[in-house]
């Protein structure tokens, strides 16, 4: 038996060096990056979207008790440490997307218009992930090539400026190669468009307090005419609102898989959005109102009373109703809640990402929610544009953008005419109310220096909790330095 006896085919694996050669190859490779970013549940509960929600003062962790998903409970309680599995998974997911984006950027030359566009998409997605890394972990390893095993322990955390430079460069290059959203067919609206890159670049500038640059990018988006506000927040988060007028970037899920309890892929990546079920009102205690389609879930992400009160204080009744429902409202509508002592329960139910029966599919409602996660939408762009202009000294423009959001029919709030700090406060409030449960509140509070003030009572410690811990593996294995306080 010679060595030829030992040469047996390896099924199912195509050589890397033969790939990235055709349009079809590159389409497959880029689709994979989108898919990776939507892997919010991947063998375990590990969603970056949920992590972002938990850090805010919008909600508590919830669930059956504080033994239910301790990693999420710890994030909510600012009791997180480097061993937190959710933090690790979020970090890992960013770098997985970056790995595949790097492959496209490095292996594809842009020989055709399509490939040029796909490279640009990959760059935007890489920028998205690096931005998450920078804002949540600060200095992070800046990986743009396959890491040689010899460098596993030699790689260090790059200065934030380096990461920002890469993010900005990627986005600037992508902006010139990407089409407008309207140039995509209806089936391709999930792709990042020129406006997506511009809005993200604006956000990146905003976080660096490069106000004028930020305002410039936001205005490119606003003036492109590609985007507009839906009639209400409820509309944005409805089925019809998906990839709609207000959408700049979403993670796509489907209710078409017909998952049941026997075939749900708990060990891989489901195509439905199981997090919607996770964050529905806990069905043990929740009795839905007859005319309402909000049904029971597993009770995570319970709204805080302070959030409800913020709407009340702002007289923001109609928008609030599509975001938070009170126990009283539930009971008035004929529903019921049977346990006032439920874990992390403050008397409110979340409706933005609601467990609405109609958003799921057969045969098992719990497992087939197709709700997309809205990552970047036009209302956010307008409010960021308002903030950037305010900071850049253009208060009038700022008021205009702010009031566009407030005057949306489904919101119907009076225009803000304030200036100076009052205007800023109005923007702060507007962002809290409009964007609750969308993962921006915590980051806003941190960059505004208001985290201790708003989150201190929840356990936030200044100088520590602005950043998440570097996952223990990276510290112990790769020798990365740890963030302060962890």
């Amino acid at each position: 038996c010679g060595d030829s006896f030992l040469e047996q085919p390896i099924p199912g694996k195509y050589p890397e060096e033969d790939f990235y050669k055709t349009d079809e190859d590159v389409l497959l490779a880029v689709t994979n990056i989108y898919d990776l970013m939507s892997a919010q549940y991947y063998k375990d509960w590990n969603s970056m979207v949920i992590v972002k929600m938990l850090l805010s003062d919008n909600c508590n962790a919830g669930g059956s008790g504080f033994g239910d998903q301790p990693g999420y409970q710890a994030l909510d309680d600012f009791n997180t440490d480097a061993a937190n599995d959710k933090v690790r998974a979020a970090w890992k997911q960013c770098y997985e997307a970056i790995y595949d984006a790097n492959k496209v950027v490095n292996n594809v030359q842009g020989e055709t218009a399509l490939r040029k566009r796909l490279i640009a998409e990959a760059k935007v997605l890489r920028a998205f992930n690096y931005f998450d890394l920078v804002v949540f972990w600060g200095e992070v390893p800046l990986i743009t090539q396959e890491v040689d095993p010899a460098d596993y322990t030699k790689t260090t955390r790059a200065p934030k400026a380096d990461s920002y430079a890469l993010i900005e460069k990627d986005l600037q290059e992508a902006i010139s190669d990407l089409p407008l959203k309207s140039a995509y067919g209806e089936d391709e609206k999930f792709r990042v468009a020129k406006g997506t890159a511009q809005a993200l670049l604006g956000k990146v500038y905003l976080y660096q307090e490069k106000w004028a640059n930020a305002a410039e990018q936001f205005e490119e988006v606003i003036n492109s005419g590609e985007y507009s506000l839906e009639s209400s927040v409820a509309e944005v988060f409805s089925k019809a609102g998906e990839f709609g007028a207000e959408s700049l970037f979403e993670l796509s899920f489907t209710s078409a898989e017909a998952y049941d309890w026997g075939n749900f892929p708990w060990d891989t990546k489901p195509e439905s959005n199981i997090h919607i079920q996770l964050i529905g009102p806990r069905s043990d205690f929740y009795v839905k109102a007859p005319a309402d389609s909000l049904i029971g879930g597993w009770g995570f992400i319970t709204p805080k009373e302070s959030l409800y009160n913020a709407y009340v204080a702002a007289g923001d009744e109609s928008r609030r109703k599509s975001i938070v429902m009170s126990e009283t409202e539930l009971k008035d509508a004929g529903g019921n809640w049977t346990n006032t002592e439920a874990h992390d329960y403050e008397g409110f139910f979340q409706r933005k990402y609601g467990t609405f029966a109609g958003l799921s599919g057969d045969p098992v409602t719990e497992l087939n929610y197709g709700t997309n996660f809205r990552i970047l939408r036009y209302a956010d762009v307008l409010l960021m544009a308002a903030e950037a202009n305010y900071e850049a000294g253009n208060e009038g423009i700022a008021q205009g953008y702010l009031n566009q959001v407030r005057s949306r029919p489904g919101t119907g709030l009076p225009d803000v005419m304030a200036s100076g700090n009052d205007l800023f406060e109005a923007i702060v409030t507007e962002r809290q109310l409009e964007l609750a449960f969308e993962g921006v509140r915590f980051l806003d509070l941190v960059r505004w220096g208001r985290a201790v003030q708003e989150l201190g009572s929840l356990g936030f410690v200044a100088g520590k909790h602005e950043l998440l811990p570097i996952p223990a593996d990276e510290v112990n294995v790769a020798g990365l330095s740890q963030n302060a306080g962890y």
């Binding site: 694996k13 898919d35 669930g63 059956s64 998903q69 009791n79 017909a258 075939n263 195509e271 294995v477």
Partner: protein
């Protein structure tokens, strides 16, 4: 016949001689008498002639005549008549009988085990070359002298010596010789005399296996030999076993290599213990190294039975038993459950009124039942000097103690073994077996709603079924259109008001279990053995292992809760074909000159494994019935199909030299070179050498007789060797490639786009995992080897452990496998056995083995840090693989007593500075292990090890007048068990009774158990859930009776034995869960009790008859 005193006076003969040479005459006399003549050298003229005529004269008279004519003298001593030249005038004939009179003895030699006559038993008069052998009926006749010692010996039986007195019939019963049978030990590619073995090899013989109730052969290994630990994955019928030889050497597969009749076996469930002649366990590296690749976790060599020449036999054996659950775990009853939940302030709970006057449902009583098992085995064997054959068949059926035929195992086996000597230089033969099994299993070993877990967790308030009206919540569920399950009497099964989620009524769950697995398997090999020159043997052997496995399952619609329901009846099928062939050619050459003996072995082997499967699932069954549970009968839109195929190969070359000098100095060296298709080109080949040596001190001339009278046998041996292991690998895992598997993304029109990506990082440097072991042993025999002691010390180090690599997360992909660490197992093994002299009608034997072992991960690649293992419940990683700790140790919170009051809590928080942690009195004191002043996941630390410090087996046999009695005890010491069936997110699940009885009820009540609580991770993810797992289990308690031969002869039987046995009947343990053997199929889940099917206890009766 009658014994006679033989004297020259008593032997009469008639003889005529006419001038014949004296030598001719004496030769004639020799022919007519039992005597031989011996001539002293002084006789110069043997050509003297004599003439005489004797008619019925005594020998003395004849000799006197001759003496007179020749002047020779005759002196008879025993059988010899010495002839001397005397030159005397008087005749000289002396008869020096001295009382040593000739006796003709006869008798029959039978086997003690089955009373079967033994043909070919050799009988020699000690100190002479005189002897005979028994005929085909076991009979013999021999003329000896009084006072002679007869030695009866037969391969496989103990030698027996009898001094001839005045008896004329000597019937002998030979005891099967467990020790002597081991005289020949099966080693890789050959056999070796046990006395010459230099490695650590343990043997188990057929007689130990003949009446076991075990389904599987691995199970029968449990407790029988030192260094081998066997843990069932479950007690359910037909479930697999975890066999570990000298510890867990690897973080994933650590199963030994099984060689059945010389051929690698894919699995073991197809063998019935009744088919086995012997099992050898090669424990040290030097013994296993001849198998190189795959020998790293030890080798188990199984030899099946064959026929014996001139011994035609029909054996039928039958066994019937009843299994039952052993010591039941006590759970809280309805009252206790209500009170516990109330005290724990669990939001959903029954009120006192709900449980008024009811003790509730004991789910264990409801789920578990007595279940039968039976086995039939029929064997025909025999042959002649040129051909032997064995044809056997067996049937085994076992129902489960949970679910009856829902968890059953049924197996048929057929075997044909034969050997033919075609020419003096050519022998051929085959070992061939067909098996069929049908297994149904129920869900277990899963804290997310398996049947067994539900039996533990389901609340006692809910009734089994509603025979008398439905409560409101059930009416509501029916009104909502949910398909509630009915029992066979037509009543709805109880639906819990309190425990929902993934849980469901365990009896209803059992009703819904529909799956089964059927396997047809053919395993066999053909061989030819040439011996062109004496001592040189060339063997070629070709074996196949083909198994065809079919799994079928379907699920009716049902509803227990919004998370445990099925709205569309569905089914699934899987067809799995595994085929392998193995071709081996090897040459052995044996050569001895003077006192040196050499055996050389050289050979090659090639193995190819081909595997393919096809599986599908479908839903929308037309009717909820087995007949409609196949994919052809559903609308096509919900069908899914999957399939897979791969091929792997292994190519090997090997050699061995064995040498011994006078049986005193022993030496062995082996080398094996293996190439595997699982590794990248350039890394495919590994070389695995070994050396071993022995010194039989008791064979030395200087070994004092005074010592050998007591210590009859002393052997010292030592070995070193390396073995390979690729068990953790499958096809192409070193290679990253582009794949579209599972990558789909719904586009904005809701249609799927396919994506493609590299599957992982690549590791082309992946190489063989190597296990290196040193072994030092001593074998001692005392009192003529009645007492035997074997002691071994070993150190086994698994190097270049193939483990899941953890590249830094920022590298962007997982590194599936790397050579990442070292694992060491070191320890001591003791085997002691004593048997009394077998000739006594009362005989007994006691054998014990003990293994002390320490397991530790001694090195982990800095790029790996530690590897996270198995999760328990929601969000707890409960096992870890880390340097400096045992493999897959338990990791969790460490507690230090119970907070008795608020002052204690305040003092604790103040002194430690811990923030963000607000326990209540009755909660455990959680230790801030990393001193970061918060209690969080990073405080989880080592809280226990699933590995025992030691394990042992003790076996005692007593035989008296046909009765035999056996006690067999097995146990382990020092392992921990993690009680993993309680989940923090399901506080309404029922708990074991001791949770209630031992609970903290106020200041000073207890400092070891907590206040009622169903959700606190500092309790359920802590050392409070770790319990001592030591146990001792009486595996077998057996009483047998062999019918006396007078009786069996009348029935034309060779042998008949009846027995009753209690298997696994008594267990001694402090573990408060269901079964201390709570195993798990997952390697990283060892010792976690998620609710495992307990090992049943069995009462069996059996009969074995040989014609």
């Amino acid at each position: 016949s009658n014994g006679q005193k033989l004297s020259i006076d008593d032997i009469y003969l008639s003889i005529d001689a006419k001038n014949e040479k004296i030598t001719q005459v004496l030769t004639k006399i020799e022919r007519k008498t039992p005597f031989e003549f011996s001539y002293f050298g002084t006789i110069t003229n043997k050509s003297q002639r004599v003439t005489f005529s004797a008619n019925n004269l005594s020998l003395r008279e004849v000799l006197e005549q001759i003496s007179l004519q020749t002047g020779f003298g005759f002196k008879r001593v025993n059988d010899n008549i010495f002839v001397d030249r005397l030159d005397q005038k008087e005749p000289s004939v002396d008869d020096e009988w001295a009382g040593q009179e000739k006796v003709t003895v006869s008798g029959i030699v039978t086997s003690a085990e089955d009373q079967v006559p033994l043909p070919g038993v050799s009988i020699i008069v000690k100190g002479t070359s005189l002897g005979t052998i028994t005929d085909v009926n076991g009979k013999y006749m021999l003329t000896v002298e009084e006072g002679d010692v007869l030695k009866f010996s037969y391969v496989g039986f103990q030698d027996q010596e009898v001094t001839v007195a005045d008896q004329t019939v000597i019937n002998i019963t030979l005891e099967t010789d467990f020790e002597q049978l081991e005289e020949i030990v099966v080693v890789g590619y050959g056999e070796q005399k046990k006395s010459l073995v230099t490695g650590a090899i343990s043997s188990i013989k057929a007689s130990e296996l003949s009446s076991v109730s075990n389904t599987r052969v691995e199970q029968a290994l449990q407790g029988r030999t030192a260094g081998v630990s066997v843990l069932p994955n479950s007690g359910s019928p037909g479930s697999g076993m975890k066999v570990r030889i000298r510890g867990t050497g690897s973080n994933q597969g650590s199963d030994p290599l099984y060689i059945i009749d010389g051929v690698r076996a894919g699995s073991m469930e197809y063998l019935s213990p009744t088919e086995i002649e012997s099992i050898e366990v090669l424990k040290d590296a030097a013994s296993a190294a001849i198998y190189g690749a795959e020998g790293a976790n030890g080798v188990v060599i199984i030899t099946t039975k064959t026929g014996k020449a001139n011994d035609p036999k029909i054996n039928y054996s039958f066994q019937y038993g009843q299994q039952s659950i052993g010591d039941n775990i006590e759970m809280m009853n309805a009252q206790q459950y209500q009170q516990y939940l109330e005290e724990a302030n669990v939001p959903i709970r029954p009120t006192i009124d709900d449980v008024q006057g009811i003790s509730g449902t004991n789910w264990f009583d409801e789920v578990f039942e007595n279940a039968p098992q039976q086995r039939h085995s029929l064997t025909f064997s025999g042959g002649n000097d040129n051909s032997t054959y064995l044809v056997s068949g067996s049937y085994f059926a076992q129902e489960g103690i949970a679910g009856g035929d829902k968890s059953k195992f049924e197996r048929f086996t057929v075997r044909v073994n034969s050997d033919h000597k075609i020419k003096p230089w050519l022998k051929i033969g085959e070992r061939f077996s067909y098996s069929h099994f049908d297994r149904s299993g129920i869900a277990e070993d899963d804290e997310f709603g398996s049947v067994i877990n539900n039996t533990l967790a389901f609340d006692p308030v809910t009734p089994v079924a509603y025979t008398d009206g439905l409560p409101a919540h059930v009416e509501a569920a029916l009104a909502a259109g949910h398909p509630l399950v009915k029992n066979s009497a037509g009543y709805y099964y109880g639906i819990s008001k309190y425990l929902t989620g993934e849980y469901g009524n365990p009896l209803a769950r059992l009703d819904l279990e529909k799956g089964n697995t059927v396997q047809n398997k053919i395993v066999g090999n053909f061989y030819a053995e040439l011996e062109p020159v004496k001592g040189l043997k060339v063997t070629s052997r070709f074996g196949i292992d083909a198994s065809f496995l079919r799994e079928h399952d379907w699920t009716p619609t049902y509803w227990f809760s919004s998370e445990r329901l099925n709205t569309v009846a569905n089914g699934s099928d899987k067809q799995e074909n595994a085929f392998s062939w193995q071709w081996e050619n090897f040459v052995t050459y044996q050569k001895s000159f003077q006192d040196h003996s050499f055996t050389f072995l050289a050979g090659m082997s090639a193995v190819k494994w081909l595997y393919n499967d096809i599986n599908g699932s479908y839903s929308g069954l037309f009717k909820e019935d087995e007949k409609f549970s196949y994919g052809n009968y559903v609308p096509d839109d919900q069908d899914r199909i999957g399939s897979y195929s791969d091929t792997k190969t292994l190519s090997s070359y090997f050699g061995r030299v064995s040498y011994d000098y006078k049986g005193k100095y022993l030496f062995n060296a082996t080398v094996r070179r293996d190439g595997s298709s699982l590794l990248s080109p350039g890394n495919q080949w590994g070389t695995f050498p070994s050396v071993s040596a022995g010194w039989v001190l008791s064979n030395e001339s200087f070994y004092p007789v005074s010592v050998s009278n007591v210590m009859s046998h002393v052997k010292l041996r030592a070995s070193w060797g390396q073995n390979g292991n690729l068990a953790n690998l499958s096809i192409g895992q070193w290679l990253a490639g582009i794949s579209t598997e599972g990558i789909r993304y719904p586009n904005s029109a809701g249609n799927y786009l396919v994506g493609a990506s590299l599957t992982s990082l690549s590791n082309p440097d992946l190489r063989w995992e190597t296990s290196e072991q040193i072994d030092v042993g001593v074998e001692l025999g005392f009192f003529n080897d009645q007492l035997n002691v074997v002691v071994d010390y070993f150190e086994k180090t698994t190097k270049d452990l193939i483990t899941t690599g953890t590249a830094p997360l920022f590298a962007g992909k997982e590194l599936p496998f790397i050579n990442g660490g070292d694992v060491q197992n070191k320890g001591w093994e003791f085997e002691v056995s004593y048997r009394n002299s077998a000739t006594k009608s009362f005989s007994y034997e006691i054998a014990a083995n003990y293994t002390a072992i320490k397991n530790e991960v001694t090195y982990l690649d800095p790029n790996v840090n530690r590897i996270t293992g198995s999760g328990v419940g929601t969000g707890w990683t409960a096992t870890m693989f880390e340097e400096g700790y045992p493999i897959w140790y338990f990791s969790g919170y460490k507690t230090d007593g119970i907070f008795q009051n608020q002052e204690e809590i305040d003092a604790y928080l103040t002194s430690t500075g811990i923030t963000g942690y607000s326990p209540s009195p009755g909660d455990p004191v959680v230790v801030d292990v990393n001193k970061d002043q918060q209690i969080s996941i990073a405080d989880q630390t080592y809280i226990g090890s699933p590995h025992p410090d030691s394990y042992y087996g003790i076996r005692a046999n007593v035989n008296f007048k046909g009765f035999d009695f056996l006690v067999f005890l097995q146990g382990q010491i020092g392992n921990d068990i993690l009680m993993g069936f309680n989940r923090t997110d399901r506080p309404t699940a029922n708990k074991p009774l001791f949770f209630y009885e031992d609970r903290w009820t106020g200041e000073g009540s207890t400092n070891s158990w907590f206040a009622p609580d169903g959700e606190n991770p500092y309790i359920y993810n802590s050392d409070l859930m770790v319990f001592k797992g030591s146990y001792a289990r009486v595996r077998q308690l057996q009483l047998g009776y062999t019918l006396p031969s007078e009786f069996t002869e009348r029935l034309k039987l060779k042998n008949a034995r009846v027995y009753v046995t209690l298997d696994n009947y008594f267990t001694f343990t402090d573990y408060p869960g269901l079964d201390p053997e709570s195993g798990s199929g997952d390697n990283n889940s060892l010792g976690i009790d998620r609710g495992v099917y307990p090992v049943p206890r069995t009462i069996l009766g059996g009969i074995s008859v040989t014609f």
